[in-house]
Amino acid sequence: MMSSLNWYKYSSPATFYGLAGKAIPWFYGAAALFCVAGLYIGFFLAPTDFQQSEAYRIIFIHVPAAWMSMFIYIVMAFWAALGLAFNTRLSFMMASALAPTGAMLTFVALWTGALWGKPTWGTWWVWDARLTSELILFFLYLGFMALQAAIDDPRRADRAGALIALVGVVNVPIIYFSVRWWNTLHQGASVSFSKAPSMATIMLVGMLVMALAAWMYAIAAALSRVRSIILERERNSQWVAQMVEAEA
């Protein structure tokens, strides 16, 4: 019965540590599986684009990374809000475990975007609304991580990071729309995704499969990182000592 299931059991770092350890191989496995399938679709099944030739294939990395970079920020803010509301340590740990993965994917999205832009647009970088807001998202991730790194007291680091994540998530739509408007007023969107020809189904499938791979990878990476954070924070607790003893 659902109601008798104790969801709070896994909000304790000690029990979650074990659960995450069991779940990680599955998520990594799923990520590998989706990645192989997605790359196969992307490189062998998807046809060559008649306008962009082979260079377009980088979207199979680029678009999933961009999607996940935004999604992870929202998830991070969700954990931060949960932590501030219910005062659960594990929520804060999840938020700080997600940040490096999110920043990495943001960077990948920017980098692959530049690699795609060179052959397609003829330039590594344009101050397009999407590119600029992705860059600002990268700055927001960096700010979150820098703030947490600067505070020695874990309790304060957790809460300060959570607050800045929430402030950031309130600002993200404002930033996005202001950048978009700035761009259209200044130069008019010279290049945009909306002008591109609609995508072949097989390309879309490949992209979605790769997005699933990125999602599974992000979960697995965040869970492994949260396990490290748990161990680091709870190193003086009894259960960690017992676990180390049992493994020795």
């Binding site: 700010g143 703030l147 505070i151 950031g168 600002n171 007023l185």
Partner: protein, 224 residues
């Protein structure tokens, strides 16, 4: 004392403190002037180019100057224990935090607004654009103090707090920069600046409503 009186007393205190340390206010002001003067030296003296960049350069300089003065907002009160006493008073933190943010704007924002037209003239802005520049700064610089207060409160007493504040706060300043510089641009190009100024006003109202709560939460986090 009612709420308004508390804010007024706090304002008087902050302004007196600022008058006793006039150097701090002037440093920020000269920083603003110097940053804006560096741009022509960097990009060349072409009047056409400078006229195009003028609004944006003054705005970027204002952003940096506002950020530079954020450290003063809570740091000295935190160091001598005044901030702790303020937290302990029965007055809701939102009230005196609003007063402090207002004082910060009066001390660090208003001087920038007063000097900005001179810089605008140096960049060759038209008289209409100068008016818009001043008005956009009038609407925009309070937002810089309001949002900046969150960063200042979160980094209270941290090592390397100054650099950290810039990393936290500058990305959040971007909409203000876009609409502020955009308003000046609109006035220069004849497209009109009402839309930009309205949005800037909207951001000001939103920030005025929300940031005191965020700062109060941030101070609680930093001082427990």
């Amino acid at each position: 004392m009612n709420t308004l009186q508390i804010v007024l007393v706090l304002l008087r205190r902050e302004l007196t403190l600022a008058m006793r340390r006039r150097g701090d206010v002037l440093t920020v002001l000269f920083f603003f002037v110097i940053v804006a003067s560096l741009f022509p030296l960097g990009v060349g003296p072409d009047p056409k180019l400078l006229r195009l960049m003028g609004g944006g350069v003054v705005w970027v300089a204002a952003l940096l100057a506002a950020m530079l003065s954020l450290g003063r907002m809570f740091a000295s009160d935190y160091a001598d224990g005044t901030l702790e006493q303020m937290v302990l008073t029965p007055t809701p933190p939102v009230v005196w935090i609003t007063g402090k943010m207002l004082a910060h704007w009066l001390v660090s924002g208003v001087p920038l607004i007063l000097v900005a037209p001179v810089l605008g003239v140096q960049f060759g802005l038209s008289s209409e654009a100068l008016g818009v520049l001043v008005f956009s700064l009038l609407l925009g610089t309070p937002v810089l103090s309001l949002i900046g207060a969150i960063g200042a409160a979160l980094t209270l007493g941290l090592r390397g707090g100054g650099v950290l504040v810039s990393l936290l706060v500058l990305p959040l300043y971007i909409p203000v920069l876009i609409f502020g510089a955009g308003a000046v641009d609109g006035a220069m190009s004849g497209l009109g600046s009402e839309a930009h100024l309205s949005l800037l006003g909207g951001i000001l109202i939103l920030a005025f409503m929300l940031t005191p709560w965020a700062v109060s939460a941030a101070l609680r986090i930093s001082m427990e």
